[in-house]
């Protein structure tokens, strides 16, 4: 299983792979894998996998809904 290994393989279209190769030339990224891993981590860090609303968010949304007559 993938989870038993430290690394696994994903497929990229060759033209995209080549584009990335060009893009990282002369940068701190030593391989396409390094760069792709970095970018994906960045994107995942932004996505919220926990509760959609924290307490304060929920308060804000509820207040707005109440003002609009939905929570009464």
């Amino acid at each position: 299983m993938a989870s038993d290994k430290k690394y696994t393989t994903v497929s990229l279209p060759t033209p995209l792979f080549e584009k990335i190769q060009d893009k990282i030339k002369g940068t701190g990224f030593t391989s396409v894998s390094d760069y792709v891993t970095y970018v994906l981590r960045e994107i995942l860090a932004h996505s919220n996998n926990e509760d959609a609303f924290n307490e304060e968010d929920e308060k804000k949304v509820k207040e707005r809904l109440r003002s609009l007559g939905y929570l009464d």
């Binding site: 994107i43 932004h46 304060e56 968010d57 809904l65 003002s67 939905y70």
Partner: protein
Amino acid sequence: MKVAVIGLDCAAPELIFNKLKADLPNITRIAADGIHGKLRSCDPPITVPAWMVMSTGRSPGELGLYGFRSRIPNSYNGIKIPSSNDIKFDTVWDILGKRNKKSIIIAVPPSYPPKPVPGILVTDFLTPDRDKEFTYPPGLKNEILRDFPDYQFDVKFRKPEKKKIIDEIFRMTDVRFQMAEKFLREKEWDFFFMVEIGIDRIHHSFWRYIDETSHLYEDDAEMRGKFISYFKMVDSHVGKILDLLDEDTVVLIVSDHGAKGMKGAFAINQWLIREGYLKLNDGKVKQGSSLEELDVDWAHSKAWAWGGYYARVFLNIKGREPQGIIEKENVRTELDKLKEKIKSIRGPNGEFWNTRVFEPEEAFTTVNGDRSDLFVYLDDLSWRAAGTLGYSTDYLLENDTGPDDAVHDYDGIYILYRKDKKIGKVIDSDIYRIAPTILRLFKVRKMYGIQGKPLEGIEYVE
């Protein structure tokens, strides 16, 4: 083939196809050239769940979404605001994404927090604020805030400054359309779906200036002018979007429900108290108090209700609610009795009300999530329900908590149009046909258990 869906939340057939017809040249032209009609909403005809019914082809029962709040299972006061995490079925853009189609999704409720989509997504009016991540991909947020610094998810209704809000709604809608048009010009897309919530806000807050039959009607030329200008602005944006589309794009204009004048709000928990279903330990109740602020004697209460554009009534069942008192074997009898009592509620002058009361199982074959035991449409939705208490009467002609001009109606609108096709048909339809229509236009054969059929006459635009 591309498909562009323009969602106008709460757009009402009578207003769009009749009363404002002459003010809306673009919408009127495509309605005449294409197929148009009423679009019967789901039950309940409420923004959440209706847009997700359109987006997934599933019923509110399957979705487990019955309105702007869900009960935290078995609790008395625990509520949860629905989010994109609660949508357990694929949306049409998820299904299209699996077929390498790219989508632009703007403000379809509930879509916060943003889920990945091949294409781009901007979340809906249930987004807490602009500090949150509200786009996919995340970087799109900066682009929006740079190009549209005034971008707003929704307006907050403030009664004392009510008249000013119409200008705020105008700006919110204008900016969202400008953003949508920019995306249509600059982004790669096959499927476009935007929802504009401003129409709903305008109806709820300013219906009195346009409906002479409303008991709240005000003959105010300036406000009526602003109401109509708002719709003219929406129409001119529809025109701009149409100009950006080619003849291979099918256009759908849809609304999730309609609107009609509100007759008043009925304080349903006061009624439940008088009928012996609900008991409070408090002596004097301050006007406008909600049940969560009060000391309810749950051990002696059989039922309580939530207000809104429809009422949800919960029974206090032993083994289900923390201090439930109705024995399981008596639930059926209690439900039937309460249903009859609610149906017999009359208006403030003793007039007959056409009230609809049903259990979710009567409306849906599958019932997921924590739902109320009864759904109540007071006088066929003409009266909204107030869950708050402390009033000297059950019949509130003005509403304390929100805008009070319009309530929801069952029928929204749809227009199916493709450039250069002269069809000219009027066919009334229903909301369950929208997702199957979109999938059919993209020639998706696998229906993933979606039951509805495409709109009648779809072959004219294929």
